[in-house]
């Protein structure tokens, strides 16, 4: 076993345990912390796949922005929503069914996949990839439309948030 495989296995176990703890933890802040650990695990996977850019973006966006937002929102609710009440509601069987179906679907797809036994191709031109990604995001025959749509969606969300939160001057 190579060093990379050992790291992968350890990180995979940690990520899975943390992901389970996100939904089973009874304290909101602890849930958010487990979520951060899970997202870190995913970032490590990106590093193992030689995708350093995605790893760093994962940490910036998901841990630096979203997880901090979660924690900040639940900081306002210190004694609320913890240690009381059942952890599931009457629709738990529906959720379990959907989760099971999703798992089955992914497993079916993965069974017929050949990639488990083949080695990952060695990437060349590490520094060139970043500019390629940047060009792909703004070139008209590649991803400019989804990229711009996502930007418009984010701006719309931001304007909506400002409208909801802002003072309504008469």
């Amino acid at each position: 076993m190579t060093v990379e495989q050992i790291i992968f296995l350890v990180v995979a176990v940690v990520t899975l345990v943390a992901a389970i703890a996100v939904v089973t933890s009874r304290n909101l802040i602890h849930s958010a912390l487990w979520l951060i650990l899970t997202l870190f695990g995913v970032a490590v996977f990106y590093v193992l796949l030689d995708a350093g850019f995605f790893a760093v973006i994962q940490v910036i966006v998901y841990i630096g922005a979203i997880a901090i937002l979660f924690i900040f929102a639940s900081m306002l609710t210190r004694r609320v929503m913890q240690d009381t009440g059942p952890q599931s509601n009457s629709n738990w069987w529906l959720g379990a069914l959907i989760a099971l179906l999703l798992f089955g679907g992914i497993a079916l797809v993965l069974i017929s996949w050949q990639g488990f036994t083949t080695l990952a191709p060695i990437l060349t031109g590490q520094s060139g990839q970043l500019s390629q990604l940047g060009l792909a995001l703004v070139s008209p025959d590649q991803y400019v439309l989804p990229f711009e749509l996502a930007s418009v969606l984010l701006v719309a969300g931001m304007i909506g948030a400002i409208f909801v939160a802002g003072d309504k001057k008469q």
Binding site: E4, L33, V56, V59, I60, F72
Partner: protein
């Protein structure tokens, strides 16, 4: 390559070959060497803090007309060592109702976020922890973990002052990240790379000459990220006891303390690396060890400015701080980014028609960028002058200081 001019690479090669000759496989050798290097960089960071704490206390003392630490060692230089021993012997106090795990996790996160930054700082052309090709983004990512540490400390302490400090931390640290990232993009644009070492390599003319505004914005907003005066609202003594670290004692407080001082030096090192040419200097490429000397000379000059600002500035109010960020720094950084991008592209488009000498190209480019920066500064100053009149307004009518209150009717009757 020899031992005198480049000891770190020399020892690295020697150790790697030694392990290989013992029959260890190549990936394991790489792993071991990286592991040792990580430990060395971390230890070096902590060792540096022992010195900078003394330096800062000494400067602090001298500016306030005191002697500063002067008992242990020559000029009191070893004062921090007994302080560390003392802090080791202190009792750990955990407040009632504190969230134990999160409470203990917060100082660790706070220190490790700062220490992680040192992994990508190049000390010399060959002495660098890891050459990451997205180094600049890495800095931003690591910075956000530090904010996490402060927020968790404030929340887990079960103390209203701590929580208020954490609220301020979110407002301050998260919002000052915006101009900082925008200012960081300017060196990326100018150096055509995101790797820190390639940015240093690109600075044949220092980036502070090309873009003084970006350097200032980066410096200011990273000062705010450290949470020290004049941006020390997170731990404002007169309002919040000690902010998010009120409940911490012993070594846990020590970790916040070390984290803060290390952060202050780290931002100086980053400013020196990104805007003052890092290890660049005479003969640095031939003798890498000399690069370390240049790097630390530049870093300590910037650090001196950081300490001077900390000592001599009063604390800002929270609304002033946020206004300064959102209404001044962020628009300025956005404008600068757009102007720099357009000017740089235009310069390289018309460059073939100019018939310049190859050696003169970086200097002409620097001149063009500097000119545009000066134009932006002039416009900004004009705008500030015209808005200042509006900003100064009367909040309330002046009223007499002491007037006896009207006694309630029940007393009179």
């Amino acid at each position: 390559m020899n031992f005198i001019s480049d000891p770190v690479t020399f020892i690295g090669h020697w150790l790697g070959n030694l392990l290989l000759s013992w029959g260890v496989s190549q990936p394991v050798v790489t792993f071991i060497l990286k592991f040792i290097a990580a430990g060395l960089v971390g230890t070096f960071g902590f060792a540096l803090v022992i010195f900078t704490i003394w330096l800062e206390r000494k400067l602090y003392g001298r500016i306030q007309d005191r002697l500063g630490p002067n008992r242990v060692g020559p000029w009191g230089i070893l004062q921090t060592v007994p302080d560390i021993i003392k802090i080791f012997t202190k009792e750990y106090i955990t407040p009632v109702g504190a969230d134990k795990i999160v409470y203990n996790l917060a100082p660790i996160l706070s220190v490790s976020a700062v220490l992680l930054t040192w992994a990508v700082i190049p000390f010399a052309p060959t002495i660098v922890g890891t050459e990451v090709n997205v180094g600049v983004l890495y800095l931003v990512a690591v910075g956000s973990i530090g904010a996490l540490g402060i927020i968790l400390a404030g929340w887990a302490s079960n103390n209203k002052y701590s929580l208020l400090g954490a609220f301020r931390a979110v407002a301050q640290v998260v919002s000052y990240e915006v101009p900082m990232v925008l200012a960081l993009l300017v060196p990326v644009l100018l150096g055509r790379s995101m790797g820190i070492n390639s940015l240093v390599n690109a600075q044949s003319v220092w980036f502070i000459v090309l873009s003084p505004i970006a350097a200032l914005i980066f410096f200011t907003s990273s000062m705010a990220e450290t949470g020290r005066a004049p941006f020390d609202l997170l731990e404002a003594e007169s309002e919040l006891v000690a902010g998010y670290q009120t409940e911490y004692s012993g070594l846990k407080f020590g970790m916040f303390y070390v984290g803060e001082f290390l952060h202050a030096f780290t931002i100086s090192a980053l400013t020196a690396t990104l805007f003052f040419g890092g290890w660049r200097g005479p003969w640095a490429e031939q003798i890498p060890l000399l690069g370390v000397v240049w790097f630390f000379i530049k870093s300590f000059i910037v650090y001196y400015v950081v300490v001077l600002i900390r000592i001599s500035m009063p604390r800002l109010r929270i609304d002033q701080m946020l206004n300064f960020n959102w209404k001044f720094l962020t628009p300025l950084a956005l404008t600068l980014l757009v102007v720099t991008a357009i000017v740089d592209k235009a310069f390289y488009t018309i460059l073939p028609g100019l018939n310049l000498l190859d050696a003169a190209v970086p200097w002409v480019r620097a001149g063009v960028h500097l000119f545009m920066n000066l134009v932006i500064i002039l416009i900004t100053l004009q705008l500030l002058k015209s808005y200042r009149i509006k900003a100064v307004r009367v909040v309330a009518e002046p009223r007499p200081v002491a007037v006896a209150p009207e006694p309630p009717a029940s007393v009179i009757s």
